[in-house]
Every structure is written in C-alpha cells, then in structure tokens.
C-alpha cells in the first residue's frame, strides 16, 4: 500500500532534484565556459606579455651587441691603416710620377690623396687597406665580445677574446647585405651558443701609416650616425665604397637563461592561473552542491508539510469514515468545511450512509419481526410434538397432535407466502403485466374467497360496481390489493359488522374502496399501519393470518402501479381505505 503523501513527496522531490540538477548543470556549464574564456584571454595576455618581455630582452641584448658592433665600426672606420700600402707611396706611384714628371714626387697620387682626402684616395686606400687598428683597451668594447672585422681583402681585426680563433667570414651574406645594414643570427661556435651581429659599413677614411707609428684612436663619435634609417638609400659614394664586414658575437647563454627564466615564470603563472581556475570551479560546484542540497532538504521538509496540510481534509475524511460503525452510521467530518474536491464525496457518503442506516434499521426491524413471526409458531410446533412424545397417550390424544401441528403449519405457510410477496415487492423483482381486466369480475372473485371468512365472523359483505369497470392494469396486483383490504376489514371488524367493497373507473384511473365498521384507527397510527408487522391493536389478530403484513403488501402493490392509497377512519366507527390507480399512459411513467 503506497501512501499518497509519501508518493507525492517522493514525486515532488524527484521533480525538484531534476530541476535542481538541470539548473546546477546549466550554471556550472555557463560559469565554467565563462571562466574558460576568461582563462584563455588571460593566457593569451600573459603569453603576449611574456613574448614582449622576451623580445625586449632580446632587443636589449641585440642592441648591446649592435652598439658594440657600431662602436667597432666607428672605430674601424676611422682607424683603417693601410700599412701595407704605405710603401707603395713612394715605391710604385711615387717612383712612377717622379720618373714621368718633373717634380713628380710632389704630385704623387698617394700624397695627393693624403693631402686632399678625396674619394680617389679613399678608394685607393681602401682597395689596398688590410688592417684596422683598434685600441682594445677602451672600456666600451668589453671583454666578452668575439669581434672580427674584415675587409674584402681579408681579415682586418680580431678581438682579444677570440685569441687564435676566428669567426667564419660569412662573405656571401655580407655581400648580399646593403651598406649600413645589420643582421642578427644565432650560431654555435667553439662549443658555445653565440649571438652574432653582422654589420656592413663603408670604410670612410684610410690612414696610411707605417706600422710602427700608430696614432691613438680618437674618441668614437656616436652622434653622427647613430641610427641610420635602414630604408634610407645609401649615398652612391658610400655604396661604392669598400665595406667593413664587422662581426660581433657574444655568448647568449645569459640571454637564454633570462629567456628560460621568463618561460618558467610564464609557465608558473599559467599553472597558477589554471590552478586558480580549477579551484574556483571546484568552489563553485561545491557551493552549487551545498545550495542544491540545502534547497532539496528545505523543499523536502516544505513539501512534506504542505502535502500533509493539503491532505489533511482527506485524513479527516478517513478518520470520519473509520468512525462509522454499525452503531453510528453518521459521517462525523471534523474540522473546517471540506475542500471543494471532497464536498461531493462527503455529501454522497453522508446521504448514502443515511440511506444505509434507514435500510439497516428497517432490515433489522424486519428481521426481528420475521424471526418473531416464524419462531413463535415453530416453538408451538416443537412444544406440541414434544409434549405428545413425553409419555404414551390414548389414540384420541395422539390424533390431536398432528391436527394442531397442521393448523400451525398452515399459519406458517401463509406467513411465508406473505413474506415472499413482500420481498418480491421490495426487491422490485415483480414486473407489472398490464392486460385488460374486468375490475367488477375481479372484485367478485375476491369476495367469493373472503365471504366464508366474513360469514364466520358474522359479517355482512357487499359489493358495489359502477360501470364500466373494464381497465388496463395488472390483475394480480389488483387482486392482491382487494383481497388484503378485505382481509383487513374482516380482521378488524366488530361482530355483525359490515364490509363494503366499491370499485369504479373513470378516464383517469380506477378506484377501489373498502369500508368496514370496525374499531377504526387512531390518528397517531394512520401513517404506521402500512409498516410491516405493525398492529394498531395487536390483540386483535394475535392468532390471525395477517401477521401485520397485509397493508404493507397493499401499499407495495399500489406503489408498483404508481397509485396512491388513502385512509379515512373514526375510532369506534370504522375505516375506509381508498386506492386510486392511474391507468392513463401519460401518468404511468414509472415502471
């Protein structure tokens, strides 16, 4: 047996759980999406930031490298010494000019060039320049740079850090580069990871100088050509000039370390962000879980209470119904008025119970009456037989016993017949069979049966008919009505009284009237005489055959035929029973 309350609670909780689950999942999904998005944005931002920082690092590193290279270039540009060309000054050209022209030695081209410092001299100088002298003690150059300066003709200068080693000349790359251009690259050399810058600058001045005589380098003027526009076309003069191929490399492990540190930092930050993200998601789902659980519990309690409250009328009805017993048929619905849904049930139950109680009481009464009516003759029968058997008797005495028993049995038979008739009427098992009936003939038949009894009581029985007396009705029921009314009239008449039966018909129906000159019926009993076993004066028919059922049968038959019965009576003067039965089809709408 499932309880409504329990199932309703379970259903609502299931519904609630489903709703909470869906809402929770949605919230979790949305939030985690948002978090994910935020996270990826943050990641991107972080990555970009770190990329920038790395680039910055590299740029700074490169700048330093480039600065170094430029410094070198600057110094180199002004410290190209053509020591090997120096002898040419006099040896070849000088000799030539001196020999070709008078005072030729004066116009020696190198000399001219030296004096004029023009392009030709530069060209000449550069074409033959082989050496660059740089004062490596200058702090600016640093110690850790692997630098190398080359000319087209060959290696011109190597930094002290290089020692005996040299950097690959990369001539092809240099040739492809434009003047003043530079290029960074990573190389692996001497078992080291190096960052290198290639810088191509023109040689702008050449100093012819004997090797043993070196002038100290002038300070490097950085302002003049600090950051040339890469896009600016180099002047044709410079373009054509002899270039320096300057390489400067430095161990990039420091940079790498910095970069690795940055990467590690990035990774750590990302992980932290991830962790935080996950943690906040976990916190959220936990919070959601607790909220859901709390809601669920509260809603469960609420549902239980509300459903209990909602079901309380039903409970009260159940209580009221369970209080119904054989002793008390009423429905005691306690508390406020029942809700609208229950009103029909309560009303129907109340009515049904009232009907049941009436039926029950009628039945109880009838059973008691029937049992009384049956048991008394039975007791008589039994006692008569037992008395007869107690001792031996004469034949005459013995004969009396069955004779007495027969009388009792007849009485019982009639009683049983009447009870059966009433039961049939009660259960509506009797069907009305209408057929043409001569009411006068019927009255004659009944009086013929009853006349001997009336005579035995010393009564006068007369029949009056009003023509026409032909009707369409159920002859059996009519016979039952007339016979019982006549019986009644005989039973309750006074000696030498009169019984008057009058029948007539008109267009509305038929009338049966039985008048007697008997004891009459006191007004307080007028209604009750039709109850079964009721006797206004029980002494009258204590030994009779009616047993108080005659008028009940009459009423049953009259009701079956949709008729009505009236009583007129005066105590001591007699009673008149009038039965009216409609024969018109329009009023005959019952059976």
């Amino acid at each position: 047996m499932k309880s409504i309350r329990l199932s309703m609670v379970i259903y609502s909780l299931l519904l609630l759980a489903a709703a909470l689950g869906v809402v929770g999942l949605l919230v979790l999904e949305t939030t985690s999406n948002a978090l994910e998005q935020k996270q990826s944005t943050y990641r991107e931002l972080l990555c970009t930031q770190y990329e920038d920082r790395k680039r910055e690092q590299i740029e700074k590193f490169d700048e330093r490298l480039l600065f170094h290279a430029r410094a070198l270039a600057n110094m180199a540009q002004s410290h190209v010494v053509v020591s090997r060309a120096y002898p040419l000054r006099f040896v070849s050209l000088g000799l030539l000019t001196a020999t070709v022209t008078p005072h030729g030695h004066i116009v020696s081209p190198l000399w001219v060039a030296e004096q004029t410092d023009d392009a030709l001299a530069a060209f000449l100088g550069m074409s033959v320049a082989t050496e660059v002298q740089i004062d490596e003690n200058l702090q600016i150059l640093g110690e850790s740079f692997y630098s190398q300066i080359e000319l087209r003709r060959g290696r011109a200068w190597r930094s002290r850090a290089l020692g005996d080693r040299s950097l690959p000349s990369e001539r092809e790359q240099f040739e492809r580069m434009q003047m003043f251009d530079w290029k960074f690259e990573d190389i692996e050399l001497f078992g080291l990871k190096l960052r290198r810058v290639l810088l191509k600058v023109p040689v702008v001045r050449v100093r012819f100088q004997p090797p043993e005589f070196r002038i100290p380098a002038r300070p490097f003027d950085n302002t003049r050509r600090d950051r040339p526009e890469r896009s600016a076309p180099p002047s044709p003069r410079i373009n054509e000039a002899t270039p320096f191929f300057i390489q400067s490399a430095v161990d990039r492990s420091e940079l790498d370390r910095a970069l690795i540190d940055l990467d590690a930092e990035l990774k750590k930050q990302l992980e932290e962000a991830d962790l935080e993200n996950r943690a906040s998601l976990a916190r959220l789902s936990q919070r959601l879980f607790w909220i859901s659980t709390l809601t669920f519990i509260l809603a469960g309690i609420g549902a239980f209470g509300l459903i209990s409250l909602g079901l309380s009328p039903l409970r009260r009805l159940t209580e009221a119904v369970s209080r119904i017993s054989e002793a008390d048929f009423r429905l005691h619905y306690r508390g406020p008025r029942p809700p609208r849904e229950l009103v029909p049930i309560v009303e129907r139950l109340t009515n049904t119970l009232a009907m049941l109680q009436r039926a029950f009481e009628r039945e109880k009464q009838a059973t008691a009456d029937i049992s009384h009516e049956l048991r008394t003759p039975l007791a008589g029968l039994l006692t008569t037989i037992e008395v007869a058997l107690r001792k031996s008797r004469s034949a005459e005495e013995y004969r009396e016993t069955p004779s007495d028993c027969r009388d009792i049995c007849r009485q019982l038979t009639q009683l049983v017949e009447r009870l059966l008739t009433l039961t049939r009427l009660d259960s509506r098992a009797d069907v009305v069979r209408r057929e043409p009936v001569d009411l006068g003939e019927l009255a004659d038949q009944c009086t013929a049966v009853i006349r001997p009894l009336a005579r035995a009581h010393g009564l006068d029985l007369q029949v009056r008919k009003e023509t026409p007396v032909k009707v369409h009705s159920d002859p059996d029921k009519l016979r039952e009505i007339i016979a019982n009314l006549l019986h009644n009239a005989v039973e309750y008449n006074r000696p030498h009284g009169l019984i008057d039966l009058f029948v007539k018909t008109d267009d509305r129906g038929l009338l049966i009237q039985v008048r007697d000159t008997g004891v009459g019926i006191p007004p307080e009993f007028r209604e009750r005489i039709f109850e079964r076993f009721f006797r206004a004066d029980p002494s009258r028919n204590s030994a009779g055959t009616h047993a108080g059922l005659g008028l009940s049968i009459v009423r049953g038959c009259v009701e079956l035929l949709n008729g009505r019965i009236e009583v007129e009576s005066e105590v001591g003067q007699g009673s008149t029973f009038r039965v009216f039965i409609p024969t018109k089809p329009k009023t005959d709408n019952g059976v």
Binding site: P377, G380, T383, P538
Partner: protein, 235 residues
Amino acid sequence: MRVLLVEDNRALSRSLKQGLEEEGYAVDVAFDGDEASFKAESTDYDVIVLDLMLPKVDGLSLLQRWRAKGIATHVLVLTARGTLDDKVKGLDLGADDYLTKPFELEELLARLRALVRRSHQVKSPIIKVYDLEIDTASHTVRRAGREIHLTPREYSLLEFLAFHRGRVVTRTMIWEHLYDENDENTSNVVDVYIRYLRNKIDKGFSPALILTRWGEGYMLRGEETAPKEPPEGES
C-alpha cells in the same frame, strides 16, 4: 408449583400448558398483557413464564411494572428475539432467566425447576429429610434407599412441603400452589392428597415425616438428621 404462562400464541400456549401440567405444575394462562398483569398481581405464583411480544402490554413493560410493585416472583422470559440486546435488556429489567423460541421443552422444564429451587433458597437439587431423599431434578423420591413412586400431583405436594420443611403450610397455601384457576376447590381435596402421600412416604417407615398441625395445616420435618424430640400429633 403454580406457574403463570403468558403467551399470545394459542397453539404454543396450549401445548405448553399441557406439558407443564403433566410435569405436575398448576398452570394458569394469560393471552395478553392486561390479563397477565391482573393475574400476576392477584395470585402468588412460584414462577411466571413470560412472552415478550404481547398484545396490549408488552412483556418488558409488564416485567418493569411488576418489579416496581414489589412482585418478586421469578420470571422466565420467552421470546422470539434472540439478540444480545434483548437478552440484556430483559435481564436488566428483572427477568431471572431467558429462553429463545423455539426451545426444547426439557430445557424449559429444567430452567423452571431451577427457578423454583431458587425461589425457595434451595441450591442442591436433592432435598433430604431424615432418610427421605427428594430429587427435584428427576422428580424421584426415595426413603431409606427405597424408591417410592408418586403421581405428579403427589410429587408436587411433597416438593411443596419439602421446600417449606420445618414450617407449617396451610391448606390454602397448598391449594394455591398446587391447583390452577380452573380447578374446583373442594374442601377436602388437600387432605385427600396428604393422606395419599402419607400412605406412600410414612407408612412402614419411622419416624413419620408429615405432621399435622391442628387448625393450621401440615408440616414436613425440617431436620436432615435424627429428630431431637419424639414426633407429636400424628394422625
């Protein structure tokens, strides 16, 4: 013993009256409440057998009326209604016993015997006077171990004397309890029956148990054992 039988069913009433009379009871019959009321108030019955559903006045009202008037006669209620409610109500209103119709005659008789005993404060069914034993259940009488055959009327007389043993009962008392309303009261009928009884009970036995009190009536000795004084006034 005199019984009032109140029963409206003629057949039952007649059979019962016959059965009771053959048991030695004096039976008066009443067919309705009024008749029963009148008879019960005018005669001292040993037991009343009362049907409940009666014409005019019903049995329970009668019972109530009698008890209110102080009539303490034991009443056995006979009814066709066998429900517990009816029984309880009947017993509460002062009925002494209850029997539902239809009943066995033997049962009715046994209950009547018990009621008669109770009305005389006798519990044991066997009454002993010296060597005389009266079995009120089987209506048998023994003296000195010998069975004595008595007619129902003789037995009733002896039983009546036995119930009043040690006390004098008048001829009127005997008449009233042993004869019904229809019997003719002839002056010496009681004396005649006493003589019959003495012939059977006392003749050939000693001591004589039925004593005559001149001018008063008769008495059965009351002691169960040997007499304290010699018997007096024998006749």
